[in-house]
């Protein structure tokens, strides 16, 4: 060994001292790794929020963007076999706007010469316009002037993707020149259990067709009668599908249907059918059916249209109001003299942009008053001007190194007064500005009302107000020290639960089923962000201004 023992201990001491002086600054990723492994709750929170937002977006997308989608699924899920009332062959439908999901039928006479089926709107209304009504127009108008709402549950009657037979009940215009069409039309419109369906070569069918071809003008009337018969059969079939408590209705329907069928059969078999009798019978059948069914089977509908789902998004400008503190009047600042003002004058702060996003369920109490409740996420923040020294910033030292304008003035004064002999680092005397952001993440449960002040159903002007219980998700914001000179972080100071109040005014406009709204909103936090039990004397109340955009759709 080359060394002597006397120096061994000193050598070790030297190594120890020098290595102790050595420091290395780890990269930020190290802290992120530590933090992520320690705060799995944060991961759960992020995951839950993502799930919530995704769920809201999915629901809104399904309900607002594809309103008919859910009803389509319901019908498809019903999976019932097609009945004789509906066409099971898509090729037989030549209507460009077939609505296989129609459950709301409006019948009314018209002077037009063409029978047609058309939608009233894109949802579930079907209009049947009858040409050449066989009953007098005033009577039919009286009977059919009301919208006849069939019971809402229709899956047994409708097969998704299929066209109702009623859409094809228009007879060929000229049976003489279109014999093939007439045959096929009769087959299609004959009841499923009829001979025409069982055997298309049945003599009765041919006789009927032949008679129609031969009778010229009379055949036109017969074709129209058959058209009416098709309508009646369809309506009768719908009536038969329902288990109506009043069995008399079904009996009436069967009776009248049989009566009409017999009359039509007679007319087809004979050279001259009595069109008056057929018209009378069909009219009677329709009157009875509509009368009974409309009176006894109309579902109650007052509850419809009262519940709404709403999505709101509002870019906001956020700020805060500071109050309290023991030094609310004046403070002496070194060589700068006395400064006066409350705590708001000791800090330099400015608003910043945030946003709020949420979903509400609305219930229309009256035509003008709507109450609402929901869930909302708010991100609000504002910025503060702070001061630090380059050395402190470089070292990324504690948050207490950030000074308020007041603290900076005191700092600079003290540095200016310090004699050079004290060894004060002149580099540390300089200040650089830094911008601090106070971020607040809140979950809120707004409960309130909207009041229609002006307007009609389409365009309205509303006023609204909500009370919003809130939960603060983060507590890592800066607070100003009690002497107003520094910014620091003290999570235990923050109040998690709070209540905010919000008022808004908005214009709303209805397009189809969707109502859009836009208008200004003002929100103010009712209690201080800091716990009253805490000795910290300053109060901070957040406030925000925003433009709220909303989209509302009725719930089924």
């Amino acid at each position: 060994m080359k060394e002597s023992n006397f120096y061994s201990d000193e050598f070790e001491q030297l190594i120890r001292e020098k290595t102790e002086q050595y420091k290395m600054y780890p990269s930020e990723n190290v802290w992120k790794g530590v933090h992520n492994s320690l705060h799995t709750k944060r991961k759960w929170f992020i995951g839950s929020m993502s799930f919530l937002v995704t769920g809201i977006l999915f629901f809104s997308g399904r309900e607002l963007l594809a309103p008919g989608h859910s009803s389509t699924h319901k019908l498809a899920a019903a999976g019932t076999a097609p009945t004789n009332s509906f066409n099971s062959d898509p090729a037989r439908s030549n209507q460009p706007d077939d609505n296989p999901h129609a459950n709301f039928v409006i019948l009314h006479p018209a002077n037009t010469a063409i029978a047609s089926v058309r939608h009233l709107n894109s949802s579930d209304h079907l209009t049947i316009t009858i040409s050449h009504p066989v009953v007098s127009q005033p009577d039919l108008s009286e009977l059919l002037s009301h919208a006849v709402r069939l019971p809402g549950e229709v899956p047994s009657l409708i097969e998704a993707g299929k066209t109702p037979t009623v859409a094809m009940t228009k007879a060929p215009e000229n049976p003489q020149t279109e014999p093939g069409l007439l045959d096929s039309w009769l087959v299609r419109n004959a009841p499923e259990n009829s001979a025409a369906h069982r055997n298309t070569d049945a003599p009765a069918l041919h006789n009927t067709a032949e008679t129609l071809r031969e009778t010229g003008e009379t055949s036109r009337e017969t074709a129209d009668d058959a058209y009416v018969r098709g309508v009646i059969e369809d309506l009768s079939a719908r009536g038969q599908q329902r288990t109506h408590p009043n069995a008399q209705i079904n009996r009436n329907l069967s009776t009248h249907q049989g009566s009409v069928s017999n009359k039509i059969k007679d007319s087809a078999g004979g050279a001259k059918a009595s069109t008056d009798a057929i018209g009378e019978a069909s009219d009677l059948s329709r009157v009875n059916w509509l009368h009974d069914y409309a009176v006894y089977s109309l579902p109650p509908s007052p509850s419809r249209g009262r519940l709404f789902f709403q999505l709101v998004l509002a870019p906001t400008v956020n700020y805060r109001n500071l109050s309290g503190g023991s030094m609310a009047s004046s403070k002496e600042v070194g060589g700068s003299g006395v400064r006066t003002g409350n705590v708001m004058s000791w800090v330099d702060q400015s608003p910043a942009l945030g946003f709020e996003f949420g979903a509400n369920v609305l219930y229309r109490v009256t035509r003008n008053l709507t109450v609402k409740a929901g869930l909302q996420f708010n991100y609000s923040h504002y910025k503060m001007l702070a001061y630090t020294s380059p050395l402190q910033q470089q070292q990324q030292t504690t948050t207490a190194s950030y000074r308020t304008p007041l603290g900076n003035a005191i700092y600079l004064d003290s540095m200016a007064e310090a004699p050079p002999s004290t060894g004060t680092n002149p580099y540390a005397a300089t200040s650089i500005q830094a911008t601090l952001y106070n971020d607040y993440y809140q979950l809120l449960a707004p409960v309130g009302f909207d009041l229609r002040v002006l307007g009609n159903e389409r365009l309205q002007f509303n006023l609204g107000a909500t009370i919003q219980p809130s939960y603060l998700l983060n507590t890592n914001s800066y607070i100003v020290s009690t002497d107003y000179t520094n910014y620091s972080k003290e999570p235990s100071t923050f109040r998690r639960w709070n209540v905010s109040g919000a008022v808004e005014a908005f214009l709303s406009y209805q397009t189809g089923l969707i109502r859009w709204q836009i208008g200004p909103e003002f929100r103010y936090q009712l209690f201080s962000n800091y716990l009253s039990s805490n000795p910290y004397p300053i109060n901070e109340n957040l406030k925000g201004y925003g433009i709220k955009i909303g989209i509302t759709k009725p719930l089924p």
Binding site: L14, I15, Q21, Y22, L38, T397
Partner: protein, 191 residues
Amino acid sequence: MTEEAILQGCLKNVATAQRELYNRYSPKMLAVCYRFAHNREDAEDMLQEGFIKVFSQIHTFQNKGAFEGWIRRIIVHTCINNLKKNKRFNESLDIVHAHGVQVREESVPSIVQAKQIVECIRILPIGYRTVLNLYAIEGYSHKEIAGMLDIEESTSRSQYTRAKQMLEDILIKKKILSKPREKAEWLLAIR
């Protein structure tokens, strides 16, 4: 924020307190890890693992000793556990006579910097380096080292002796340390 407040915050799993603790001690602890590790990346991995242990076991800390010392022990044990997973490290502990280390001669620095000493220690073979770190710098006894590294106490002693000899040679070749007869004077001079 005082150390007591940090400790209380960490006990409540408050992120800001944990960050404060991390900011305060991570530079020193990374230097500790760096002396044990192969490179900086490994050192940061050890540091991360060590701090996770610190925060998760902070409730076991009793105010009987220095908080920094408690953290340091956890970090050192984390480093040792990481090294023991390395087969090369286990083999190196059995080396009786390590081959000479190729050291490039450098000019004499005006001031002996801590970084140079650390870098010289890192030149040592990993077995030597570990024992030197534990005994000379961290202050563990040979008995404790033997228990930590699963070796004989005598092995620890011999490893340390050779490690110290090798470090001395390195320091001399790098002209950080003078010739043996001048060592004592040099040591007094740089103090």
